[in-house]
Symmetry: none
DNA sequence: AATGAATGAGTATTCATTCAT
DNA sequence: GATGAATGAATACTCATTCAT
């Protein structure tokens, strides 16, 4: 389905893939859009749940941020169809995207934001940065990495992009050696 | 059109908005998809052209990067419909996105990449960073800012996001005062 | 439908005439052309089947030829809409006509040809005649009679044309009395 | 044009083939149908005119009938596109066909009918035959030959079908040797 | 609960025709 | 007379959704 896009996939195809009749879909979902939304919501929930379990065992705030990035890319990189839905389909349906942004994504997001805040409090991260904005920027960089991967021929592991991305974001682009001199 | 999405906009609506008959559309575009593609291409071309004129007058590589980010956000922020097309519609049509990525976007992108490389050569930016990857990250951060703006109620100026975004990316998130101690 | 021609009849009209919704048509036929083709094929099949049952009970080869002609004209003459489809619509769609000629019509035709051959073997018909060509000529004469009827105001029975047509074809136009003298 | 059928040929294509602009067509023809009708009429007129010149020089009524058949098939066989229009296109448009049948074709036809009548008067052809009906039958046989040729791969000369067709029609199918015994 | 046949609203595209130049 | 850009009516086909079984 992800291959052709949600719009270009018929309810019949989804039903057949699920091994049920067309009408059965409507016993569990209000309509086609609801099917996409609930599916995305479910997956996101399990991502968050599984992610939290791991992140809670990570002590250092900086490591949590690193781990968050790795998990995010690993989850998406594990299933290209899924990645396609999240990176491409989700943002097409603006209504869906808005709702998702305001519910699940916000929750997902708030964890990243809190890690940044904690890292600030513990002195690892500059206090001049707005946690929310910084989280957005980090998220955007990861998002771009994921979208690039989906649009590419996927001959590399998506999660391998986590480390270099965090290097730039944590340490910045500026050359301090030069700047110091 | 941007409000409802390209798919949900009929050719008749577009024709009426353009003040021509339905059939006239097909004198200038092969089909509905071609209409979207050519429109996006044209706009991107003019963005690049206008952008280059300004960037060429900017001496410092770091300033060029700053200016690039500002121009990118200013262009998109100037017309919310346009921003919607670029941030939402474009990436829905995967074929279109791929083509766009491989033609116009690559060109647009290569400028940013070259500015980073120049900044590296002149010592402003760490030589350990891959210009291509760094450009991707910067672009991703800007992209996220733009998408957020489109999905928001747009009660702030998009280009105002350029400065704080560049602060994080250029200087990094890490607190050096603390790190130094 | 036959009145206005197949092309000038919309699928909606056909659906309404059949008492079903437009989309229902496409559950049973691939497209509009397929509808015409399958309809023609079905009718031809039943013509052949019913015809054979009668012809098998006819002993004399000459009588079989007569009966064949009568049945052909009687079938077409029984339903002017049907006749219209066969005489007019069928031969418009060249692809359809070719396919029909090479499948159903060939079968239909081969029976007539075999009757002529049998009649030759039993001495009723001149051995110098090519069965295939003679069948074509007979068929052409019947075809013209049918087409004429369709284009006329149909104030006579089409099958009444069978006898005089066969008189000319079997006995020839030449006046033997005169020729003999 | 004959290849794809008249309906599937656009006025633009016809205009281009004629080396004029689309609109120019409408200076000489009322509409697309009128174009087909006038073209067919013109060609038929020249056929009749040229045919008459030849037939008038043919003394024997039987030979005239033979010549008529030869000319008919030779004319159609000379240009497969033309044959296609006459055998396929013409009878699709029922209105056109009716008009043609009642004007040009009737005239064309009346000549054949008159030759048969003359042949009857001079004793060559059985007086029991209706000239009109006999002409129809002869015409039908020729028509079938032409249609077959159009639908075939045309690897034989159409006019070669004239002689065997006339043999059947003039002398009949019945074996007189046998019948006499 | 499950089915899947039937529905019918919705739309991109074509092309004969017009008419200002 | 000639042009050809612009027109807009007309239609096959799809597919989300329903509901009788």
């Amino acid at each position: 389905m992800a291959r052709n896009g949600f719009d270009r996939t018929t309810v019949s195809q989804i039903a057949k893939a699920a091994g049920v009749a067309d009408g059965t879909i409507y016993l569990y979902f209000q309509n086609k859009d609801d099917l996409l939304q609930k599916t995305i919501d479910d997956i996101t929930d399990s991502f968050i749940q599984e992610g939290l379990a791991i992140l809670e065992r990570t002590a250092s705030p900086i490591d949590r941020i690193r781990k968050f990035a790795e998990l995010h890319l690993a989850n998406l990189g594990a299933d290209e169809n899924l990645a396609c839905i999240f990176q491409i389909e989700l943002r097409h349906n603006m209504r869906l995207m808005r709702e998702f942004s305001q519910k699940k994504l916000r929750k997902y997001f708030s964890y990243l934001e809190s890690y940044i805040r904690q890292a600030q409090e513990e002195g690892y991260i500059r206090k001049s940065l707005t946690p929310w904005l910084t989280a957005k920027i980090l998220f955007g960089a990861l998002d771009e990495a994921a979208t690039n991967w989906v649009l590419s021929n996927r001959d590399y592991k998506l999660e391998d992009m986590a480390a270099p991305t965090l290097d730039v974001l944590l340490n910045g682009m500026v050359d301090r050696t030069y700047a110091a001199s």
